[in-house]
Point group: D2
Chain length 336, copies 4
Amino acid sequence: MSLPAANLDPTFRITRSSHVVLSVKDLAASKQFYGEVLGLILTAEDDSTLYFRGVEEACHHSLVLRKGSKPACARIGMRMFTETDLDKGKAYFAAQGCETAWVDVAHQGRTLHVTDPVGTPLEFCATMPVQPRMITQFRALRGGCALRLDHYQILTPEVRKAAEFYMGMGFRLTEYIAPAGTFDLRGVFLQRKGNPHDIVFFNGTGPRLHHFAFLAPEVHHLLHACDVAGELGYGFDVERGPGRHGPGHALFVYFRDPDGHRVELFNTHYQVMDIENEPAGWDPADHKVSFPWGMPARESWYLEATDFEGADVREPRVKPTPLTLEKFLPQRTAGN
Amino acid sequence: MSLPAANLDPTFRITRSSHVVLSVKDLAASKQFYGEVLGLILTAEDDSTLYFRGVEEACHHSLVLRKGSKPACARIGMRMFTETDLDKGKAYFAAQGCETAWVDVAHQGRTLHVTDPVGTPLEFCATMPVQPRMITQFRALRGGCALRLDHYQILTPEVRKAAEFYMGMGFRLTEYIAPAGTFDLRGVFLQRKGNPHDIVFFNGTGPRLHHFAFLAPEVHHLLHACDVAGELGYGFDVERGPGRHGPGHALFVYFRDPDGHRVELFNTHYQVMDIENEPAGWDPADHKVSFPWGMPARESWYLEATDFEGADVREPRVKPTPLTLEKFLPQRTAGN
Amino acid sequence: MSLPAANLDPTFRITRSSHVVLSVKDLAASKQFYGEVLGLILTAEDDSTLYFRGVEEACHHSLVLRKGSKPACARIGMRMFTETDLDKGKAYFAAQGCETAWVDVAHQGRTLHVTDPVGTPLEFCATMPVQPRMITQFRALRGGCALRLDHYQILTPEVRKAAEFYMGMGFRLTEYIAPAGTFDLRGVFLQRKGNPHDIVFFNGTGPRLHHFAFLAPEVHHLLHACDVAGELGYGFDVERGPGRHGPGHALFVYFRDPDGHRVELFNTHYQVMDIENEPAGWDPADHKVSFPWGMPARESWYLEATDFEGADVREPRVKPTPLTLEKFLPQRTAGN
Amino acid sequence: MSLPAANLDPTFRITRSSHVVLSVKDLAASKQFYGEVLGLILTAEDDSTLYFRGVEEACHHSLVLRKGSKPACARIGMRMFTETDLDKGKAYFAAQGCETAWVDVAHQGRTLHVTDPVGTPLEFCATMPVQPRMITQFRALRGGCALRLDHYQILTPEVRKAAEFYMGMGFRLTEYIAPAGTFDLRGVFLQRKGNPHDIVFFNGTGPRLHHFAFLAPEVHHLLHACDVAGELGYGFDVERGPGRHGPGHALFVYFRDPDGHRVELFNTHYQVMDIENEPAGWDPADHKVSFPWGMPARESWYLEATDFEGADVREPRVKPTPLTLEKFLPQRTAGN
């Protein structure tokens, strides 16, 4: 087995991950959490929906929160470059045997619903109403000053299948996780926009949304987000970090929102555009890559995730056996 | 007159600005300056040439310094996505009446030389030998921790002509400068890689290289670069900043290197990918955009630039009349 | 001539610089400037007075702004350790021939007015009503997040006389400015609280208040203060910096407030407590110390200052001849 | 019971915590750890001893590492202001029934050994040979850029007795920990130098040295120290943090050095000088103060500490029952 190959000449152009649609139980709590802790800008709201965008985003929304009876993710969204790309994409997805449908979605251009081969519900559009970028409205900056949506991480029992599908339509593989010396893929980092990932698939019970991630400007913004979280009573919901990712080198912090949805805030990413950039592989057992310093993530970080509405969830063939904090603590005495 | 239109379906794919080739008089001085102040990584050197790359770059070089009798810029480099794009690009440039030539360049794949219609000497390649990204080699980080080459700024008497040429091959206009209510272009910010600029053209005596720019991770890296510059005796060569760019909101500092070449170090950039993002225009007389706080740039920043080897330099039709620091000081009493 | 000697066993204990009392013409403008740009906390206000304190300060005020017909400084304040120290201080000052008076001042304990031998109007108290420290109220942080008042700088024609007086009552000299090889004092940095200065005297027309200074936590807070200043229309009032102080190594920015009063925001200070720490001298002509990188301060920074109410201002014997930005620009071509 | 009272007029003047003397098994490992991770400056070394100082310190050493067969702390050091204070201090300690002795110590002025009433071995001196402050030698900065020694934390079964002794000689209490509504002291923060602590005593098996702490300039320095620790193979020795202290608001990270000695790196501290500043009390069971966000410290952080050479260690009357990470994890599901 080898790594799947990326199609360098796809017939349609996906440009980036763009927006996530979640159900939440209490709009007021979510409004405070995303506005104050993450620092997102509220573009619009009504009785049942909140539309947030990042501080630098000119698009109408990158996070849609709908009042619902239980937490779930309705869809994750991506952008196509032009309307023509949307049409070509629809044809391509249909040829691949995916369910597709044109739908009307508020505050978005013509929108295409697609379910990918591992069951992830996607939606694509080429435009949204333009909003002012708020990045030079310095007094409007709050909490983590989340700049823009960057990527999603999905749990799936079918990592290779996901990689093949996404790479077949032009996504490139930047990093992958597999036991040393093998291509038995346990995690794949896939991108269209020229940085390490737009969408990541990890081996696990799924399809489920592990997290979505916003970029923050600097390290101190991550810490300010934690401080505001603590001040507002969300101190226990700083689930992991601040810490350092391994090969990607970003600093991160993971929060659980009031419904348990996980959102990552992280800083700077490297650029991956050149054709000679080979994917970087790492062994899941190599803790120097997984957590270069400090302690591993707690079990909840590995196992808990958000269900997709209506998706059938299946168990993976190989059960993940991460070194969780719960396993680590009894094994390891600090300072010895 | 209106803004030129971007070709959204170019026949070949330029991906990004990639490397600049300069002549310098004293390799040892340049080696210290770029290694210690900017924090670039030295990939290779011989008696006549230094090859530097940014801390996160996997490409062989983004800055090439050749020993020469006088300071000049030989070429600015860009990447094509694949070898096929290079071939298609050559045909396109030839059809546009540009001089083109295949050349052998050390440490680069097949390389195409092209002179653009305003006289800028370009070179394109699709690959370079891969080098390790150094971003997690924390003890190797120095000075400004320059991550990667981001963009060039060129002075030219023919701003509109440049904009039309680059937009015709797929560059998109993110910002432009023109007197209020007009499209009399005095500056254009053009991009391929999804952030505000790969190449910028400003009205002025040219073609000349005004500056090239590296991205730094955080604000404190910019300040550390200044501190190291001062420590090494380059304190007067901190020509402008640290300061805040207007619409682009980046923090910047401009250095003059030991030969007078100007290099910018700046932090975070916004993302520009969506088709509905219209170019943002601003009036050159609007100082709140040009310098949101502090004082304007000194005259040298506006007028001095690096000659391109062998290029004929011409004067602009409309002479720039920026509000220089020299004009500003007598006009304005602080605190009044 | 030599340096004055510090009295290591003064009969009373001054602990620190504590508060400054200014006249301002427009309380609303000042309220916005100090609250939004500096980030001070408003403790109390009435029709004629604003009381501000730093984000971490537990004292009632460190900045008092009184509505007045013209900008001036009424007094600069210092703390004595105990009420007993206040009494001993009064006796000491009287024996030195200084005017002294007990006065009632709102929101302060028993207060002693003293005019020092170079004409600076001082006030001393030992207590103020306690206020909550706001440093962990993260959502209340604004602009430069000014933590606490740190020091004053005074212009005077009598630098040595000032040094002798303050050192005679226990202030220690940390740095001084004098032409190389001499003790012809042009500037003295004097401290009680264990960092480089509580009060600084510089040679110039005086007594006048050159600036007062607040400590900020980190570099990015200084820049955020500048950004907010620009957003609020105070962009021209960022008079100097951000830049690096020489021996003290702090990063600084100087603002002119809406009345032209100058306030410095700076970060980290070194500790000076040990008896073996000798004063560090530097030559006013040594630009590597005065401005380690970038350009010198503009003339206004050197010459303009706030009058003390009712003080007679005199010219210095040796007129200062600093290398101002106005002199520097024609002399020096950047990059050469 | 009430809080002990501070003596505001002590007969001698201790100025600050100044240096710690440790035994280590491998000088080379310690040299790398403190030089590269903490960023301390090596003042001097010989076959059996390393002398380090902080980046801004002008004193000869703040950390002395002696080769020994097992890890231990020989003494913690404090400064007296003058030689006269040393003499008065000796008389005072003798009158209190403490063992005292004059000793010769390399690179220190006249040195007084004293054992405090809870068994902590102290040493006092008034001077050390002066070294250059390195804070403006920007290229010499490494890792966490540790500026200066700030404080010690000691475990003792006799917290109140320690508080009474130190407050009796002029230390002031800034914060204390006691069950709500009581003065049953479980922790006391005591200071001489005007910030929250020079020495802290916590209830526990002791006397033992829990940690010593260095101040770092900014948050990013703490993270860089962690990154360098990870790079050098000390990733597991980042025992706690980065995190936020409660009332003191500092950001912290705790490392275990190669011998298991614990060293804290933290940023900004508030100033405590005014007589009206009352001690702030907090309940050990109030987790919002103990860890405002994230997870509690692991058990090792609470229980493990460095023995003092020759000291008899005793158990506390009330065994500490902190909410350790080990207890916390099973109790608490993140996101719920």
